[in-house]
């Protein structure tokens, strides 16, 4: 039998697709994420700008512009979009948050997942400002777990300190967990490891899909290239002319997120791109 060369260089590029035509707003992704990532517990968590949550279940309606009964509602699970940025003439490709962090607390991993190491964070919140998607949460208070709630904490995610930023990491600790399991079974190639983040794993309608964007046969790659795919306010996506697009990409930095949303509803497409109802 041919000896497979054991690959140590990461070739994956993790991305996610959320099908808003299938999302029923059940909220299970939110609970699963909170449970998996040791979200701090507060008695009143209604102050949304200060809420510490990796996944925000946004309720979106077009009622700013539309009148009853031409209204619609949708729920949009929003987490860190794991931006890639782009190589423009002056800057190398990196997410907006990574480019501004003075303490290198956030960095892009080899698999495209933007890591957040709270212990390096100095709490300047520059990244929180830079993030175009408001996906980062700041620990205004010390993360605490009232009494016996401590018993349901996950050891794979460390508890951050007060004054640091935390965010969704596409459950990269689950990748590590799966890597351990694979190696125990004798599968040593780093690219043979696949995993499912907490939110995707619990979605009951299959609206959330996760996979390798570098693999053209993966479901995420296929879904992300369909007509229904749209990304949250990534302005360059609206530029249809390929030459103009290339020129813009060379001149400016765009977020270039790796989370795609699928929707057949044009009002939702427009809202996600901050455009008025077409």
């Amino acid at each position: 039998m041919e000896e497979k060369k054991i690959e140590v260089k990461m070739k994956r590029r993790w991305g996610m697709v959320v099908d808003l035509d299938k999302c029923t707003g059940c909220g299970k992704c939110s609970v699963a994420c909170n449970q998996e990532n040791n979200m701090p517990i507060f008695e009143d968590d209604s102050d949304v700008p200060k809420r510490v949550a990796f996944l925000e279940l946004m309720k979106v309606t077009n009622d700013r512009d539309a009148k009853f009964p031409d209204v619609k509602t949708a729920y949009l699970p929003k987490m860190c979009q794991q931006c890639e940025g782009n190589n423009s003439g002056k800057h190398k490709a990196e997410p907006p948050c990574v480019s501004v962090c003075p303490a290198v607390a956030t960095d892009v991993g080899d698999d495209g997942v933007v890591s957040q190491v709270w212990s390096r964070c100095i709490g300047c919140r520059y990244c929180q400002t830079a993030c175009p998607y408001e996906a980062r949460a700041f620990n205004w208070w010390k993360p605490e777990y009232d009494g016996s709630f401590k018993k349901s904490l996950n050891t794979e995610v460390s508890v951050a300190s007060r004054g640091t930023i935390v965010k969704c990491t596409f459950c990269s600790h689950i990748w590590k967990r799966e890597r351990d399991k694979a190696v125990a079974k004798g599968i040593l190639d780093i690219n043979d490891v696949s995993y499912t983040p907490a939110c995707v794993g619990t979605c009951p309608t299959g609206a959330m899909v996760f996979g390798d964007l570098n693999d053209p046969d993966s479901e995420v790659s296929k879904l992300a290239s369909t007509d229904r795919a749209v990304r949250l306010t990534n302005v360059i996506d609206d530029e249809k002319n390929p030459e103009k697009k290339k020129a813009l990409l060379n001149k400016k930095q765009f977020a270039n997120p790796k989370v795609y949303y699928l929707t057949s509803q044009s009002w939702l497409r427009d809202m996600m791109r901050f455009k008025k109802n077409s």
């Binding site: 609970v31 517990i41 507060f42 009622d63 009964p69 209204v71 050891t155 619990t202 009951p204």
Partner: protein, 645 residues
């Protein structure tokens, strides 16, 4: 030797201090000192490590009995996972199991009811006291004054029903659910064959938002999308179901029943369809006379053409089904409405709706349903089986007064509004701590909490009359007598005599009313449902700021209506109905709600539901419509005439 003077002391002292300092510095301690200081001041909790594995459990939150995998680290359960998707109740079971306000021992009331003062007692003492009381009531021949209210018809509810009935009481009730309402109205609850239908006409049933079995419905919805099943949603608010439906038919608040009458009218007169239900002739005469299409159009806001179009599509579909049960987790429907909607199924000979019954569950007791019991019944002893009728029933305040005069025992894991009025609280387990024929408990029982099944069984053994009701003594064996589902065998009847008055009332309700010009209807937030979710911190993290924000509960009002009443965003208003008023509600202007409607979130306003659930918003049930339906025995609280100021 010269004497040591002050100057010398300075030298000594200086030497000491500088010596200490240099010793400290040269040991490298300052750097490490800062590191230590940072860690000590942060004082972060480090979760306890342990052997990682997966354990299996079966949920008993509802009759669906979903199977889940539980990720364990050592002895601790840290995550509930399932390939199938589980309902919020299941997910919340993890936070329930480890909730710091979990009740650890049986509690006995000290002080007045409602004060919330309880003292721990032993199980022996509690069972002794409760059984003594129950035995004496039965001995006096007043067994019927012993009542029980079950949360749902899972095995726990079935056992309680058997126990109380064998004690000689007919007063066993279930909190109103889709199954209980339709069962009372139709003689069996409706089993929808959603997988094989191509056209769904939903009358306010928020199919994907917690209606019926939430876990099942999510899967069913995925199937609908794959097969292109057409969903037509008649609803007042554009919620997710309405948005995801192929067509949203906006109706004026609470008029879903009227729409059903209109469509039935059209199908009978326009398309000459017949129903096999008993008294069909009588019923159709009533409907045709009382609800001509023009009136239906004006009441519902749906044009006559549209009504006809829906009727046409519905009857032409291959296997259409009409779905009754307005709401999501909390459903409400009058029997007239349920009958009319089921009639539509019979008119088109739908194969997707059949009537079923459960061999171990009887929804009616001495009174037709829970609300009529609370309103008109009396009891000297009451068992609450994880139920919270003080919060969920419109007669919550009346129930409080009756509970104050009776001996009340509540079986539940955390305090709720109803348990606050109990004499004894017996702590129960979450499903992670109970064994089923398919699995061992995943987590050890919390302190002295016991499995509800075992509590009921030990109570039954302590009561003279029910000593032999259960042939077993542990919870696992009780699964043997779990109820079986079968066709109900009942003949669908229109029950015209019973619902005649309701039809009149509906007619009057939607005529214009100067004193109460608006309608208040409920909406639900994901995970909060009709109240159960609010005790769990992770549920709080999902609440949208247009529902509840910084101590303000927001009600949704249409912009035009808002303009009419001069309302601005976030303004504080008072909502008044015939039954009372709600203050401390705030306005959110949105066109996702029909005009002249106040859409108020359910699930808030608990009085004692842990620190996470209490003192948040108001409970609209307090002022919601309380006309008790003659067949279901439940108040149709869905639409309430209100005015705002």
């Amino acid at each position: 030797m010269k004497k040591i003077e002050r100057k010398d002391f300075l030298k000594l002292g200086g030497g000491a201090v500088l010596g200490g300092l240099s010793g400290w510095v040269f040991s490298g301690a300052p750097f490490l000192g800062f590191q230590w200081l940072a860690e000590w001041t942060q004082d972060q909790y480090v979760p306890v490590k342990g052997f990682e594995k997966y354990a299996q459990a079966v949920s008993d939150s509802c009759p669906a009995g979903c199977k889940v995998s539980v990720r364990m680290i050592g002895e601790r359960a840290v995550k509930i996972e399932s390939k199938e998707g589980v309902c919020p109740s299941c997910h919340n079971a993890l936070q329930l199991t480890y909730h710091p306000e979990r009740i650890s021992t049986p509690l006995k009331r000290k002080g007045n009811k409602g004060d919330g003062k309880f003292a721990p007692v032993s199980w022996d003492e509690a069972i002794k006291d409760i059984s003594a009381k129950m035995n004496s009531i039965i001995a006096e021949g007043k067994a019927n004054s012993i009542a029980a209210i079950n949360k749902n018809e899972s095995l726990n509810g079935q056992l309680m029903e058997k126990f109380i009935r064998s004690a000689g009481s007919n007063n066993v009730y279930y909190e109103p659910s889709l199954k209980s309402l339709t069962s009372s109205a139709l003689g069996g609850y409706v089993n929808y064959d959603f997988a094989n239908t191509d056209y769904i006409l939903s009358f306010g049933a928020k199919l994907v938002e917690g209606w019926d079995s939430s876990a099942d419905m999510q899967k069913i919805f995925t199937g609908w999308k794959a097969r292109g099943t057409k969903i037509v949603q008649a609803d007042t608010v554009c919620t997710m179901t309405a948005s995801l439906a192929a067509e949203w038919v906006p109706v004026k608040p609470g008029t879903e029943a009227i729409l059903a009458f209109g469509i039935a009218n059209y199908l009978i007169t326009g398309k000459r369809l017949n129903s096999t239900g008993e008294e069909f002739g009588k019923w159709s005469q009533l409907i045709i006379n009382k609800f001509p299409l023009a009136k239906v159009a004006s009441y519902t806001g749906v044009s006559e053409d549209k009504i006809k179009k829906i009727g046409d599509e519905f009857s032409k579909a291959k296997n259409p089904v009409a779905v009754a049960g307005k709401g999501a987790c909390g459903v409400s429907a009058s029997s007239a409405e349920i009958i009319a909607i089921y009639c539509l199924n019979t008119l088109v000979k739908s194969r997707a709706a059949t009537l079923m019954k459960n061999s171990a569950v009887t929804y009616t007791g001495e009174f037709a349903g829970l609300d009529s019991f609370i309103k008109n019944g009396s009891f000297s002893m009451l068992f609450l089986n994880n139920a919270d009728p003080v919060y969920k029933s419109v007669f919550g305040e009346e129930l409080k007064k009756k509970m104050e005069k009776a001996f009340v025992v509540s079986i539940n894991p955390i305090m709720n509004d109803s348990a606050n009025y109990a004499d004894y609280i017996l702590p129960s387990l979450s499903f992670l701590e109970t064994a089923t024929p398919e699995n061992q408990p995943v987590v050890a029982s919390f302190k002295e909490s016991k499995d509800t099944k075992e509590v009921i069984i030990s109570l039954s053994k302590a009561i003279e009359k029910t000593k032999n009701t259960f042939a077993f003594s542990n919870g696992i064996d009780s699964f043997k007598i779990s109820g079986k589902e079968s066709a109900s065998g009942a003949r669908f009847s229109f029950n015209v005599d019973k619902i005649k008055n309701e039809l009149d009332a509906l007619d009057k309700k939607f005529a214009s009313n100067a004193e109460y010009p608006l309608f208040m209807i409920p909406v639900e937030a994901p995970l909060v449902g009709d109240g159960d979710g609010l005790a769990f911190p992770y549920v709080l993290k999902s609440i949208d700021p247009t529902v509840f924000y910084r101590e303000k509960l927001l009600v949704q009002i249409n912009r035009e209506t808002g303009k009419k009443y001069g309302l601005s965003e976030n303004e504080s208003i008072v909502i008044k109905s015939e039954r009372g008023k709600l203050s401390k509600v705030y306005v959110h202007l949105t066109d996702t709600v029909a005009p002249d409607t106040v859409a108020i979130p359910l699930g808030f306003g608990h009085e004692s539901y842990t620190v996470y659930g209490s003192e948040k918003g108001v409970n609209p049930k307090k002022i919601m419509a309380a006309d008790v339906d003659p067949l279901t025995g439940t108040a149709d609280w869905w639409s309430t005439r209100v005015k705002i100021s």
